[in-house]
Symmetry: C2
Subunit: 218 residues, 2 copies
């Protein structure tokens, strides 16, 4: 998620759009085009990882789906593992801002806030796709599982655990997360009925108190 | 799990062991050998499905691992889906007897019994392998997910739900199951620490009350 529109980007600024106009429409600046290409690769990567899982997805396949050369994918992101991490990070970006919200707010309504946030990103098709990609990949591949552990554990759960005043805070945060992860598995991945078709508000109403009791006791 | 030792098995009975003795040791009756072969195929199938997941596993690969011809796998089990169902059924056999136990016992300790049973089959390497096979396969393949839904939903959760006296009994049973499924995902599949290395008794002590509250209220 590196932002390349800083002040030092003189070589790609709007005033430097004198080269390479052919085939790129009406002389659109390179830095915007680079951003577009990057986004297109990320979108393609999310779809490929989501549909095929980590192992069966190749950088070549992502490049093909994005309509670019494989070398460009490597140029922007590096290895397949790094493409994967970048592709799924978008699903965690809101989670990270939410974790601030959770850390700053009183523990009283934390179960409700966390549960509502969790189902919010799963119900939203834009974030559901990378989440499915994470689950499908992490279950079958150690590298993808490591990325999941890194993002979820160190960035989200540890922050939540830091908020809890008890000896087993990290384990507690994980057991609360387990309730949510299990719901996502049965509702969105396995599609077990009646959970898969139940109204999401009904589920939140039932699950939030369970998460709350894990985090803040009865 | 068809039992072929009925009274009509004249062609394979102990008294008919006059053909094909060569290469089969000391004239062991065919029906026992058939049982051995069947078990060997099931063991190979569980290992293949567990390591590769449903999609990447082939009947040919299972046959090779079991040291038999593919035709024999088809003869005993039918399609790949049917081999899969037979291979993972062993993990559910104890679950089904447990579901009787759960259905007959008072609701008072159901959370503890269910949680202890669940972690029991996950901690046991013999049953963990087919469970990992189910999870890895069901997450990535619709056919495998359907087998999971059939076994878990109709045979286990619905029986548990029948025991509960409330309008949303099936949803309730699934939300309780979600707590357990999420724990299995984070502990055994993703291996998130500290949950992955925590003492199982410590986990049961924390999770059983959560399952109990789902099923029987506070």
């Amino acid at each position: 998620m590196t932002d390349t529109t800083g002040r030092n980007s003189g070589t790609a600024g709007p005033g430097s759009g004198t080269t390479g106009r052919s085939g790129r429409g009406r002389g659109r600046p390179r830095r915007e085009e680079a951003g577009d290409t990057r986004d297109r690769i990320l979108t393609a990567a999310r779809e490929e990882f989501s549909e095929r899982g980590y192992e069966k997805t190749s950088v070549r396949g992502i490049a093909k789906a994005a309509g670019v050369d494989s070398a460009l994918v490597h140029h922007y992101f590096g290895t397949k593992e790094q493409v994967f991490e970048a592709a799924i990070e978008v699903a965690f970006a809101p989670a990270l801002s939410a974790s601030h919200m959770i850390a700053d707010a009183p523990l009283e309504g934390v179960g409700e806030r966390l549960t509502r946030f969790f189902f919010g990103i799963w119900e939203n098709p834009t974030t559901r796709t990378p989440l499915l990609a994470i689950v499908r990949s992490a279950v079958n591949n150690d590298t993808a599982a490591a990325v999941f552990r890194r993002l979820v554990a160190s960035q989200l759960l540890r922050r939540l655990a830091g908020r809890l005043e008890q000896p087993d805070a990290e384990l507690t945060a994980e057991l609360a997360a387990a309730q949510l992860v299990g719901c996502a598995m049965l509702r969105y991945v396995i599609r077990l009925e009646p959970l898969a078709s139940a109204d999401v508000e009904q589920i939140i109403a039932r699950v939030a108190p369970a998460v709350q009791r894990h985090l803040a006791g009865p």
